[in-house]
């Protein structure tokens, strides 16, 4: 932690960055912190409560953050994939940001706690299970000691996806239409997604209106399918969409399913290399086509 504070203080003092975006411990638990004064650096923390994918603040839609000037961003391994995503799609110039990587041993599912608690099968964020990227490589600085593997959660995301896959079609339909019918179209999932970079979302087009704007079951289904498809092969599995969803739609399950699809079909895994093309928009002559007559 001191390591992090020292570095932040130095970067700010040397004027290498104008703001450090990291985490702080506040009234209701850990939350993003924006440090512009060297002394503010002492408020920075990194522990299992630091769930937020701060890369979302690099998203070009965040003018008010960009206005602060050059950013020093604290990222976990999983967050680095989002940075790679922005670079891959020309939404970010690598030199415009200083990346401070922190070695990560997994984070909590519920982060609004006065202080960090030890990770257990019950409280660990399921997405951390099997994480292969706990030490970001895309970074300018890598801090912290190597961390132990996070524990296996009581219920893994794979198990939940498998549980759905095991259900008959009608059950799955009932489940998902039920879930999506809760959606009130606040679009929080989109706003917090580091990869939802569009200036004007297709959901806001009215001519033609591919996606009905009002939150009824039919429009909600179109929206949620489209959101998922647009992230196919791009989603970095940071889980922010689900975390921010005020009505608790398990978007992680859809995202994970799509990760499985591109992995099985195209042997593709979202990674930290911006040079590797996303699977959609790319092709191989011998892509399997068993579903095509």
């Amino acid at each position: 932690m001191n390591e992090l504070r020292e570095l932040a203080r130095k970067l700010l003092t040397d004027g290498e960055v104008r703001v450090i975006i990291g985490w702080e411990s506040a009234r209701r638990g850990a939350r993003p912190m924006f440090v512009t004064e060297p002394d503010g650096a002492d408020g920075l923390i990194f522990d299992a409560r630091c769930v937020h994918n701060l890369v979302t603040y690099l998203n070009p839609r965040r003018d008010h953050v960009a206005e602060l000037g050059k950013i020093g961003l604290v990222i976990k391994g999983c967050d680095a994939k989002a940075v790679a995503g922005l670079l891959r799609e020309a939404q970010l110039t690598r030199d415009d940001v200083v990346l401070i990587g922190v070695r990560c041993g997994g984070v909590l599912e519920e982060n609004e706690l006065p202080e960090a608690v030890a990770l257990t099968r019950e409280n660990v964020a399921p997405r951390c299970y099997g994480c292969d990227n706990r030490e970001p490589t895309l970074v300018d600085h890598l801090l912290g000691e190597p961390q132990p593997e996070p524990p296996q959660p009581a219920v893994t995301i794979e198990e939940r996806v498998a549980a759905l896959d095991a259900q008959p079609l009608q059950e799955r339909w009932a489940f998902w239409t039920g879930q999506f019918s809760k959606c009130v179209r606040c679009y929080a999932c989109r706003q917090v997604c580091p990869l939802c970079v569009c200036e004007r979302c297709v959901a806001e087009r009215t001519q033609p209106q591919w996606i009905e704007s009002s939150p009824h079951a039919r429009g909600n289904l179109s929206w949620n399918i489209t959101r998922a498809l647009h992230l196919a092969g791009r989603c970095v599995d940071c889980g922010e969409c689900e975390r921010f969803c005020p009505v608790g739609i398990p978007l992680t399950l859809v995202n994970r399913k799509l990760q499985q699809i591109v992995a099985e079909r195209y042997d593709y895994k979202v990674g930290e290399d911006p040079e590797i093309h996303a699977p959609i928009g790319d092709y191989r002559l011998d892509d399997e086509q068993e579903f095509i007559k």
């Binding site: 009234r27 759905l164 679009y187 939150p215 005020p246 608790g248």
Partner: protein
């Protein structure tokens, strides 16, 4: 805030209703074909239980949510639980509703209006912060154009609040002129006591409901009532002070400071972590902005609907020209604060917030209205300390500095 010991209006009638009688009352109403809306526990998955556990149940997340629902059976009543995820707003300004429908054949177009009168319904155990919100929003729904759909639903509804038993660090109703036992916007109040509830009616509608079901209510005068009431007095006072401990502000000072500090870097700095997700507006009992959309159902036929919108969305103020006067998130967040705590009170004399704290609870970026109002209050009343408080980043001032 309505003090039960002394009211400006007609003194409240007091009754007692037992847990059983309350359910019986609900059953009577349902039997008579009256909709009964109440907080109920719902399966977070609304799906076969196998899936509920396997697919939805996430460690650390409650398997059930509390929601306001039109119940089908008195047994569903589940009073006294947490604050519902969505406020009571949805029953007066639904997230989407038809305004009219159109049909076109050849060159002839017919428009079909929607009804603006509604069947009577009863809301049981509404949260005081939710009913109060309805009263606050009544003002904007009637100051110029009379919103028939809103008013129709208001008139059709009889609301009984439940003195709030769940108070956490995000609550601040007392700071914005409400209270955990407020009856504002409601027709009566239920206060839990041994074996049931003390019932107070504060409006004609409230009294009418009691009058219609005499068998369910024990009238006052019963000696036991005195004790019960004394007990509730104490609990209610305690609840109020617990909320007050979270936040105390001078609403007028805050109102005037915001009005005169539009460009103050503090406002920008307070907005810095906001992602503009707009979830706060969706769950807010007082946010009432809506969008109007035409949704086709094939060639020459469709429905015009209004649905919730939020000033936190960039498209909210996007002009046809492409220009956007609020093209930046901290500006949009300022608008939210400004509208609720300055513009609205200046226009309608009331703060557009009842301190339910939903916006704070729902914000996973850590935007904390208790903290934000506190900071503004300090700036307004003790400018010296404000400077220190505004240590955090502010796009405005950094820009100025650079």
């Amino acid at each position: 805030m309505t003090d039960v010991t002394d009211t400006g209006a007609a003194a409240p009638q007091r009754y007692f209703i037992s847990e059983a009688d309350l359910r019986a009352l609900a059953a009577d109403l349902l039997g008579a074909g009256t909709d009964v809306i109440a907080p109920v526990s719902v399966d977070a998955c609304q799906s076969p239980s196998a899936l509920a556990t396997a697919a939805c149940l996430r460690p650390g997340v409650a398997p059930v949510d509390v929601e306001y629902k039109a119940i089908g059976d008195a047994a569903e009543l589940d009073l006294g639980r947490d604050l519902p995820v969505l406020s009571l707003k949805q029953f007066f300004l639904p997230d989407h509703e038809a305004l009219c429908r159109w049909h076109q054949r050849g060159l002839e177009v017919t428009v079909e209006e929607v009804p603006t009168t509604f069947a009577p319904r009863v809301v049981l155990a509404a949260k005081p912060c939710d009913s109060a919100a309805l009263a606050v929003v009544d003002a904007v729904m009637n100051w110029d154009y009379k919103d028939e759909l809103w008013n129709g639903r208001r008139e059709a509804s009889t609301i009984f609040n439940l003195a709030c038993p769940v108070i956490d660090e995000s609550c601040f109703c007392t700071a914005v002129g409400s209270a955990p036992d407020d009856v504002k916007g409601a027709d009566g109040l239920l206060t839990p006591v041994e074996g049931g509830y003390v019932v107070e009616t504060t409006t004609e509608k409230g009294r009418a409901l009691v009058a219609a079901h005499p068998a369910r209510f024990e009238a006052a005068g019963d000696p036991a009532m005195v004790g019960r009431i004394r007990q509730t007095q104490a609990e209610r006072a305690g609840a109020r002070s617990r909320v007050a401990a979270n936040l105390e502000i001078d609403a007028e000072s805050v109102r005037d400071w915001i009005a005169t500090h539009f460009e103050d870097p503090l406002l920008a700095s307070l907005a810095i972590r906001c992602n503009g997700c707009g979830a706060c507006s969706s769950v807010c009992p007082t946010c009432h902005c809506f969008d109007i959309v035409d949704e086709e159902e094939g060639v020459g036929r469709g429905t015009r609907r209004r649905c919730w919108d939020t000033c936190q969305a960039p498209t909210f103020t996007l002009h046809a020209s492409g220009h956007n006067p609020r093209d930046d998130q901290h500006v949009r967040y300022r608008q939210r604060i400004n509208h609720k705590f300055s513009i609205y009170p200046l226009k309608f004399g009331e703060v557009l917030c009842t301190g339910c704290g939903r916006c704070t609870r729902v914000c996973h970026a850590g935007q904390d209205l208790v903290e934000i109002l506190g900071a503004i209050d300090i700036a307004a009343r003790r400018p010296g300390e404000a400077a220190a408080a505004a240590g955090a980043a502010a796009p405005g001032d950094v820009e100025a500095a650079s």
